[in-house]
């Protein structure tokens, strides 16, 4: 099996999970629906963290495993790191 830098759990996901440390500007290889796809990382991504594989608008649902994992709190461009700074949880929100 060819070594890929990221895993996309389901084809409709808009993020991937990187499995090695990604340097800014590097190409991240992944497989979507059996096809090899490359996305250029805008910034450094630590192992296990997520990278946007599509442009995601503020307020849009973020999907992984083909399911909702939260909502974008700002516009996110393809290649950007997706984490707690730009993704909010939709559940357990006693603050609102």
């Amino acid at each position: 099996m060819a070594r890929l830098q990221a895993i996309v759990m389901k084809a409709k996901d808009n993020v991937c999970t990187v499995v090695e440390l990604i340097a800014p500007g590097s190409e991240v290889g992944m497989e979507i629906n059996g096809e090899n796809v490359r996305v250029r990382a805008d910034e450094a991504i630590p192992v296990g963290h997520k990278l946007a594989i599509r442009d995601i608008k503020q307020g849009e649902i973020i999907m992984k495993y083909g399911e909702v994992i939260g909502r974008a709190t700002q516009n996110i461009r393809i290649g950007q790191h997706v984490h707690v700074h730009n993704l909010e949880s939709c559940r357990g929100r006693g603050d609102r």
């Binding site: 099996m1 630590p46 963290h49 939260g70 707690v84 993704l87 559940r91």
Partner: protein, 387 residues
């Protein structure tokens, strides 16, 4: 598929022959520890409870203590009390003996013995006798269908949902197909994924229970008036790449494989069903571990991405690393590496089969690392105030 276990006179199956030193109250912890440390072949627990508890909360604590005594992995129990506590040692011991008349059960009351030194002395003498009896027990071949597996993930990272949890899901399916039972727990870490588990419920009533326990859990979190994030997922989970409870949950439920959900049961309730059961426990690792042990699981497979060492005093706890770096860094504590899925050396199915084989070996007497290193973590869920 078989393993070598202990057949109990009541027909139940044990995979260890522990002699357990069990304090009924926080005030008896030191004596319990003193007895256990003086007698090889015993284990003990310590906890913060047993006095000034009320109603259902006191009942739950008592139920968990009794369930550890009656657990088929335990052959003998010495219950230690101070003498003035709410949850009395003699009552716990009597209930254990009532449910399991074949077991060696004794009570030590510190005030009656004349203090801790004499209580430890009396306990050591009884424990020595109980260990002698336990050591004479013989293992026999037992079908895997009699095993109850507790599944758990703790110190999760973003690899948990890709490697170790899906692999454990394969193990869960294999055990269920062999006729055994599997516990899915940590309700908090199913928030956001409950619809997927509920869709596997055997009937609408069980599906309804899935949403009921999730709603109750989320409502109790929301009552605190803050965003759950920072507690769930934990700071370590977030450092590992998990951004929300939904993301953590979606990775978490892979442990439960793909088979139908038979029932949703209360914390520490006995597991009587075959197949997959959801026990309503908190996500806190040790309260969950203790609840599943009280429910009668024989062993736990525990996946971790950040690394954890914990283990139950009576239930072998097998650790599975989600990534190879962790497996190498904390190799003293981790039994199995599922990081090979991330590197592409193995697939999820292959790792799942390895976990299953290890599970049968540990059921037959091979020690998990947490046992060798003496972990005896124990924490009871509280549902009421301390008075």
């Amino acid at each position: 598929m078989q393993f070598k276990g202990y057949r109990r006179p009541d027909g139940k199956v044990g995979i260890r022959n522990q002699v357990l030193i069990l304090p009924s109250v926080v005030c008896a912890n030191r004596v319990a520890r003193g007895i256990s440390q003086a007698v090889a072949g015993t284990t003990w627990v310590e906890h913060q409870h047993g006095c000034t508890q009320l109603g259902a909360d006191a009942e739950l604590t008592a139920r968990v203590l009794v369930a550890h005594g009656t657990h088929p992995n335990v052959s003998g129990v010495i219950v230690i009390g101070l003498g003035c506590e709410t949850i009395r040692a003699q009552d716990i011991a009597a209930e254990i003996k009532k449910q399991c008349s074949y077991k060696n059960v004794a009570t030590i009351i510190i005030q009656d013995e004349g203090g801790s030194v004499k209580a430890i002395g009396s306990g050591v003498s009884i424990a020595r006798e109980f260990v002698g009896a336990a050591s004479a027990g013989e293992r026999e071949w037992i079908d895997a269908s009699e095993l109850i597996l507790g599944t758990e993930c703790g110190g999760s990272d973003a690899c948990s949902g890709i490697s170790a949890n899906p692999a454990l899901g394969v193990t869960s399916d294999m055990l269920i197909d062999a006729g055994g039972s599997v516990i899915l727990a940590e309700t908090t870490e199913i928030i956001g994924a409950e619809h997927l588990i509920a869709a596997r419920a055997v009937n609408p009533q069980v599906a309804r229970k899935c949403f009921d326990v999730i709603n109750a859990c989320e409502a109790s979190a929301n009552k605190m008036g803050v965003d759950m994030r920072g507690s769930q997922p934990t700071p370590g989970n977030i450092a590992g790449g998990l951004s929300s409870i939904e993301e953590k949950s979606l990775g978490c439920i892979y442990k439960a494989g793909t088979r139908p959900l038979q029932d949703v049961i209360e914390y520490a309730a006995p597991v009587t069903q075959k197949g997959l059961v959801w026990m309503d426990t908190p996500g806190q690792d040790i309260e969950q571990l203790t609840g599943m042990a009280a429910g009668g699981c024989h062993l736990v497979v525990f996946t971790t991405g950040r690394g954890t060492c914990c283990g139950s005093p009576i239930v072998p706890t097998i650790k599975v690393a989600t990534n190879t770096a962790l497996f190498e860094r904390m190799n003293d504590n981790i039994d199995i590496n599922a990081g090979t899925v991330i590197t592409g050396e193995e697939n999820v199915e292959q790792v799942g089969r390895r976990i299953f084989a290890e599970m049968l070996d540990v059921a037959s007497g091979k020690l998990a690392k947490a046992e060798i290193l003496g972990f005896n973590d124990f924490a009871i869920r509280r549902i009421g105030p301390t008075m």
